[in-house]
């Protein structure tokens, strides 16, 4: 053995360690991959060895290789092995590897639960720490559920090092197991005031993360945080808190008012830029939340803007960036105060730093007005020309479109200008945003009716220059514009100047190189154009012209019929047939134009993008119900995980007929034509000169020389946007002059009237009238659309599950799961001292608990109300003028601690319960606890039975009672008496006097004599019942006995009060001395073998009840538990309050039941069996 150890360690010294591996990789620069695969083989060998040190070393190396991108998931099991090493050195390596490579999909992760639990409770704080750190990286919902309780215990660990880690990891636990949030929250809140700053900071951190996602649930913590803010000196914590307030203020404007003062003080006093910046940020948030209610905070805004200007002017680029970032927040509500810094922001547009330029761009968005839009866009356009790098250029492009299109083109006064800007943007090389431009073109053309004529002329020019767009080397997004152009020209063809020209442009053979979805639009819109041309020609009486157009269609459409794209092909062949038919009609001189244009009659209205979603679901329609039974094996769509790091690639259209396809197609086409020509039976369509021309090598076969033009081409006929700027200026100038004239006149009038009306000659936006009368069509929404704006919420948001009300008191069921032993049928007996839970004896306690819960509920409710009042009160006070605000009332930490160690707490609770028991309301009289069957299979359920038996009754009161053995004190039983008032009088002054016997004595309050009655601690209004509990001490329990007693009370009604009495007899049966105690089969066998038990038996005939129910009855009435059950034979066990063991063997025959009993006391046994006989006889 020793030799083996030595050998192991010697072996180890020749293994590579991490440093050797790194060195080796550096020495094998040329064949790194080969070297590493060799190393991985070695590692696999090492992992097979028994020596844990070797394994740990191997895992350490794997962690390094993982960083280089090698797969180490195959070693997951070995990693777990190393994690479970006893030495910290190895354990740490294992946990590191696990934290780097484990994730929710790792299947072996479920093996770690117990190991982690063990490490969490390790006496070494570093073992615990390393487990917590590791777990924070790979916690799964299962792990979170199983370990939540252990982690919560660690939150109160003695070492702050563990506490802070436990607090932090709770956030991860909440995310994975949202049910844990409520039970754990009170303790988390306590940690906000932990003496250790690290723990405090961790708690702030966690609550800030939680509150950021669901701020409204954390509003009640505001006073506490406020206190922390004014007392803490840790900048890190301060920043977090201030950020949190930024999230809370939108929900509670009063909070904002309270915050402004201390925040402005901080802004003035702090030297830490990070803190200053966050303060400014939160003040901005406050101002935003106040902007509706309180207009007068100009001082604060000025302070913020002024501080931000200092940041932006700072030479530190980081501060400049952040200044701009914060500025954009002010912009939303106080654009005026930002607009005065336009110079600064435009200056930033020229910054060499792209991040800063982007931020400045963001700011521009809010700074445009009708007045300066053209100017700003012009500046941006020059940037577009200058920009190197497509990302920034694309960003500029989207910004231009954003700026112009914001709030329904609010700032655009001249749509001709806008269209020409869009057309200019189409000349951008290599932009990805063709679809954006296209969407804008469509939107403007559809919604601004006045612009259609102009738009159509521009679009036809674009279509004409289509070869320019399509022939650029990287055919990319920009050809999307043609989609819009084609559609606009087709749809609004009545505005076209030269429709015939455009038609030809759209039927050019080069069009077939466009992506399929664009070709499809071409085909469709060609027909629209065709229809309008036909109409024109027919009206003008040019029959020949009409026929020529038809002929053009018939000639050119076949190129689309051959398209590889199904959509194009289908549309084209449909339309081709239609046109051929028209041709026939035309030959007969039938006017067709009317009918053809009827195909496209009517106007298409824009529909809001959300319209479909907003259509209310008609009543009685269940959208989730299957119409047909689903196919058994439907392919699930692969869902892409929404990752943060993700490329936007899906957007690019994928319809790109590959070059090879095209060649192939051409080849086949050729072959087919050849075949058709040679086939005498093939009926050709009427040959025409054009057709023949087509048969010769088509235009598409003429090689096109691609010219690389670096200068943006000026498309002839396309007006430059610049000229609009000039025109616009002139127009405005004219307008202004006119207005001034008018104003002067008015002024003169006013002067004459001697009225002092100071109308400042400001040139506001409203003064500029748009050039065209713009009629912006609003998007259509379905009738009775739902106004909700819920659609932005992502149903898969993991934080949504954490939207939990935290002020509500904890319910009984809200507990963290505790690991329990599972009772299996042949389980071994547990340690002797473990008190086993049994439902029977728990029942009264349950009631107590429920009761207590109710009380606590009430308390909590009160507390909550109080808390809400507190918050209101705290918020309502006007901010104190002094910099140090009055200490806020801190919500008490009285909140109940969730019970975690149920078993252990039981004792305390019971005793508590006893003391409190006098205030018990009666629980429901039905037996809450079903009989316990230890390991017995459940078959059928007995109807609920009451264990309460009638004690006595008269016209006033009914007494029922239940006697149970007490677990805690030997030789004691608890008698629960339920008193029900059946009269119409109030019963009060109730007293219970019981005559003690030698054997049984009632436990009375100290100092009272044996003959005094014991008061019942409640009064009973009519119809009400309540329960009182009394404890009796029993000397000998081997015999049943009866105690006489009297209940005396005063019945008071309208007529007066009478003194009444009710006698009763308490019957202590032997069964009532028994306590249901589970027993394991091995212990049971030992007990029987021991031989010091006396035996007795009974037999009862005529029993028809099922065996299962029979056993249940014995369990219920006589407090036994089933040890083992085989067919119609069962062994049962119980224990008396004085520790007698009672074992039963119950056998069921045809119509009879025999019970053999063994007990350490023969008298007790025979009495018990007699009682049992009575019970069984009733069955």
């Amino acid at each position: 053995m020793a030799l083996k150890m030595v050998k192991g360690s010697i072996d180890r010294m020749f293994d590579k360690n991490l440093q050797d591996l790194v060195r080796g990789i550096r020495n094998h620069k040329e064949d790194e991959a080969k070297y590493i695969s060799q190393c991985i083989d070695e590692i696999k060998q090492e992992l097979k060895q028994d020596n844990i040190a070797v394994k740990a070393n191997a895992v350490c190396k794997l962690t390094y290789l993982q960083m280089l991108g090698y797969d180490i998931s195959w070693a997951a099991f070995n990693i777990i092995e190393v994690m479970s090493a006893s030495k910290f050195t190895f354990k740490r390596i294992g946990y590191l590897a696990a934290s780097q490579s484990f994730h929710e999909g790792t299947d072996v992760i479920m093996l770690t639960t117990n190991q982690i639990r063990k490490d969490l409770s390790s006496p070494s704080q570093y073992d615990t720490g390393v487990a917590l750190t590791g777990l924070s990286c790979f916690v799964t919902p299962d792990l979170a559920r199983d370990l939540a309780n252990d982690i919560m215990t660690l939150m109160s660990h003695t070492k702050p090092y563990i506490r802070k880690k436990a607090v932090l990891i709770m956030y991860k636990v909440f995310l994975k197991y949202p049910e844990s949030l409520r039970p754990a929250f009170p303790r988390l809140k306590e940690k906000l005031e932990d003496p250790d700053p690290g723990v405090q900071s961790a708690a702030v951190n966690v609550i800030c993360e939680l509150a950021r996602r669901n701020p409204k649930n954390y509003l009640s913590l505001a006073p506490l945080f406020f206190k922390l803010m004014t007392s803490s000196t840790n900048n890190w914590v301060l920043i977090k808190i201030i950020k949190l307030f930024g999230a809370l203020t939108p929900l509670e404007p009063r909070l904002g008012k309270k915050l402004i003062e201390p925040l402005t003080n901080l802004i003035h006093s702090t030297s830490a830029m990070s803190l200053l910046y966050e303060c400014v940020n939160t003040v901005i948030a406050v101002l935003i939340s106040l902007s509706s209610g309180m207009p007068n905070h100009s001082a604060s805004i000025q302070l913020c803007v002024q501080k931000l200007r200092i940041l932006i002017e700072d030479s530190d680029q980081n501060l400049k960036y952040l200044g701009l970032l914060a500025m954009s927040k002010i912009l939303k509500t106080h654009p005026k105060s930002v607009q005065s810094h336009k110079d600064l922001i435009l200056q930033c547009l020229d910054d060499k730093d792209e991040s800063i330029r982007l931020r400045a761009l963001d700011l521009l968005y809010g700074m445009v007005s009708k007045k300066n839009l053209m100017e700003i866009v012009k500046k941006l356009m020059t940037h577009v020309d200058k920009a190197e790098g497509t990302t920034y250029r694309d960003e500029l492009l989207t910004k231009i479109i954003d700026i112009c299109s914001q709030s329904n083109y609010q700032y655009i006064t001249n749509f001709e200008w806008y269209i020409s800007i869009l057309v200019e943007l189409t000349r951008l090389e290599g932009t990805r945003h063709g679809h954006l431009i296209a969407a804008q073109m469509l939107d403007v053309a559809i919604r601004v009716k006045a612009i259609r004529k102009f738009a159509v002329s521009q679009m036809s020019a674009l279509l004409d220059s289509a070869h320019l767009l399509a022939s650029s080397t990287q055919r990319n997004g920009i050809c999307e514009v043609l989609y819009a152009a084609a559609w606009i020209c087709g749809e609004f063809s009545e505005h076209l100047q030269e429709p015939h020209h455009t038609l030809e442009a759209m039927l050019r053979p080069r069009v077939t190189t466009l992506p399929g979805h664009i070709q499809a639009v071409y085909v469709q819109n060609v027909v629209k154009l065709y229809a309008s041309i036909l109409q024109q020609k027919e009206q003008a009486g040019e029959a020949e012209g009409a026929q020529a157009v038809t002929q053009l269609m018939v000639d050119r459409l076949p190129q689309f019929v051959q398209s590889a794209d199904l959509e194009v092909q289908e549309r084209a062949s449909c339309i081709l047939q239609l046109v051929k038919h028209i041709q026939k009609l035309q030959a007969k001189d039938v006017p067709v134009a009317e009918e053809v244009s009827a195909l496209f009659a009517g106007e298409l209205n824009p529909v809001a993008p959300k319209a479909q979603k907003k259509v209310p679901v008609p009543e009685g329609l269940d959208l989730d119900a299957w119409i047909n039974e689903p196919l058994s094996d439907s392919e699930s769509e692969d869902e892409r995980p929404r990752a943060v790091f993700h490329e936007e690639e899906q957007r690019r259209p994928k319809h790109r007929p590959s070059e090879a396809d095209e060649e192939e197609l051409a080849r086949r086409r050729e072959a087919r034509k050849q075949e058709q020509a040679n086939n005498p039976f093939y009926i050709k369509s009427s040959p025409s000169p054009q057709k023949r021309y087509q048969d010769t090598p088509g235009v598409e076969h003429i090689p096109v020389v691609q010219i690389d033009l670096s200068v943006p081409l000026k498309v002839p006929g396309l007006p430059m946007s610049d000229q609009y700027v000039k025109l616009e200026e002139e127009r405005r100038h004219r307008q202004k002059l006119e207005k001034d004239k008018r104003r002067k006149k008015r002024k003169e009038k006013e002067k004459k009237g001697k009225r002092r009306h100071s109308s400042l000659p400001t040139e506001s936006d409203e003064d500029i009238a748009p050039a065209q009368q713009v009629d912006i069509v609003t998007e259509e929404m379905p009738e009775n659309a739902l106004p909700s704006d819920e659609d932005d919420k992502d149903p898969n948001d993991p934080y949504r599950a954490l939207d939990i009300d935290l002020d509500k008191p904890l319910a009984d069921s809200e507990k963290l799961p505790i690991q329990k032993h599972r009772n299996t049928e042949t389980s071994k007996s547990p340690e002797k001292d473990v008190p086993m839970v049994e439902k029977k004896s728990k029942k009264p306690k349950k009631k107590e608990k429920k009761h207590k819960e109710k009380e606590r509920d009430k308390e909590k409710k009160k507390e909550k109300e109080k808390k809400a009042e507190d918050l209101d009160f705290w918020l309502s006070t006007t901010p104190p003028p002094a910099p140090a605000p009055a200490p806020a009332p801190v919500p008490s930490t009285k909140s109940p601690k969730p019970k975690k160690k149920k078993h252990r707490k039981e004792k305390e609770e019971r005793t508590k319960g006893k003391k409190k028991s006098k205030k018990q309301p009666p629980g429901s009289e039905e037996a809450a606890g079903e009989p316990v069957q230890n390991g017995a299979p459940e078959e059928e359920q007995l109807p609920p039975e009451s264990s309460y038996s009638l004690l006595a009754e008269n016209s006033y009161v009914k007494m029922t009672c239940d006697i149970r053995g007490s677990l805690q004190e030997d030789s004691q039983v608890t008698v629960a008496i339920v008193l029900e008032n059946r009269s119409s009088s109030i019963l009060k002054g109730m007293e219970l006097s019981v005559l003690d016997s030698l054997n049984a004595r009632m436990a009375r309050p100290q100092g009272s004599s044996v003959h005094d009655g014991v008061p019942v601690p409640f009064q009973l209004p009519p119809g009400v019942s309540n329960e009182a509990q009394y404890v009796f001490t029993i000397q000998s329990i081997v015999m049943a006995q009866k105690l006489k007693g009297t209940l005396s009370f005063i019945a008071k009604n309208d007529e007066g009060a009478t003194h009444e009495k009710l006698d009763f007899r308490l019957h202590f049966s032997c069964s009532s001395y028994l306590i249901t105690t589970p027993c394991y089969s091995d212990a049971f066998a030992k007990l029987l073998e021991s031989g010091d038990l006396s035996m007795s038996s009974i037999k009862v005939d005529g029993i028809r009840m099922s065996f299962q129910n029979l056993l249940a009855k014995i369990c219920f009435h006589h407090h036994f538990s089933v040890v083992e059950r085989v067919d119609s034979c069962a062994s049962m066990y119980s224990r008396s309050i004085q520790g007698h063991h009672v074992c039963l063997l119950v056998k069921k025959g045809e119509n009879s039941v025999s019970v053999d009993g063994k007990c350490s006391d023969s008298t007790l046994l025979s009495n018990l069996l007699e009682e049992m006989k009575a019970t069984l006889a009733k069955c």
């Binding site: 030595v6 360690s9 570093y126 920043i239 730093d353 800063i356 990752a643 993700h646």
Partner: protein
């Protein structure tokens, strides 16, 4: 929350890769590469915040980085973190490395990736900032190192011995030694310790 912490050198060689959200390893490598390219083309005198790019999907996330000599330290964080705070945190992290390694240089990070991870674990845990006080961080790390040393005993001794042997630049150590040789070598070993 911190999404990822990446350390790579001027040539894009990763020195520390720590993701707090799950990505498959190919994506991880791609992110490291792309981040490197994004950061590389930025001058030293422009701001240390980066956004956009194809790398980061949400506007909520930012790259915050610092460049020290041959190494880039990049943190990817969401909006709950203070930008300047994270810059400070990077500084704390680097200063801690400097204390623990005594004049840290790239080589330390190359050969002791595991130790760098352990140090980082005391600063950031599961994407959340654990400790910002450098003295506290250093104290915890030293305590753990002491614990490791005390455990070292049998298993660490030969390793140290071997690296001593290796540092003498022995050309090649035969890997398959029979038992006979072993017995001779054992006593000699202790001299290196």
């Amino acid at each position: 929350m911190i999404q990822a912490i990446l350390v790579f050198n001027n040539h894009g060689k990763p020195r520390l890769v720590r993701f707090y959200q799950r990505f498959v390893k190919e994506i991880q490598q791609q992110i490291v590469r792309e981040t490197f390219h994004l950061v590389l083309k930025r001058d030293d005198n422009i701001c240390n915040f980066l956004e956009g790019g194809s790398l980061i999907g949400g506007s909520d996330y930012k790259l915050i980085y610092r460049h020290y000599a041959t190494l880039y330290f990049v943190f990817c964080v969401d909006s709950s973190e203070s930008e300047l705070g994270i810059l400070d945190l990077i500084q704390v992290f680097v200063e801690t490395l400097d204390k623990c390694f005594e004049n840290v240089c790239e080589l330390d990070l190359i050969f002791h990736m595991d130790k760098v991870h352990y140090i980082l674990q005391e600063v950031v845990m599961g994407g959340m900032v654990l400790e910002t006080n450098m003295n506290e961080i250093v104290a915890q790390i030293e305590a753990q190192n002491r614990l490791e040393k005390s455990e070292g005993g049998l298993s660490a001794a030969p390793a140290r011995a071997v690296s001593a042997v290796k540092n003498i630049n022995l050309p090649e150590i035969p890997r398959n030694i029979n038992i006979g040789d072993l017995n001779i070598k054992v006593p000699n070993l202790s001299q290196f310790v």
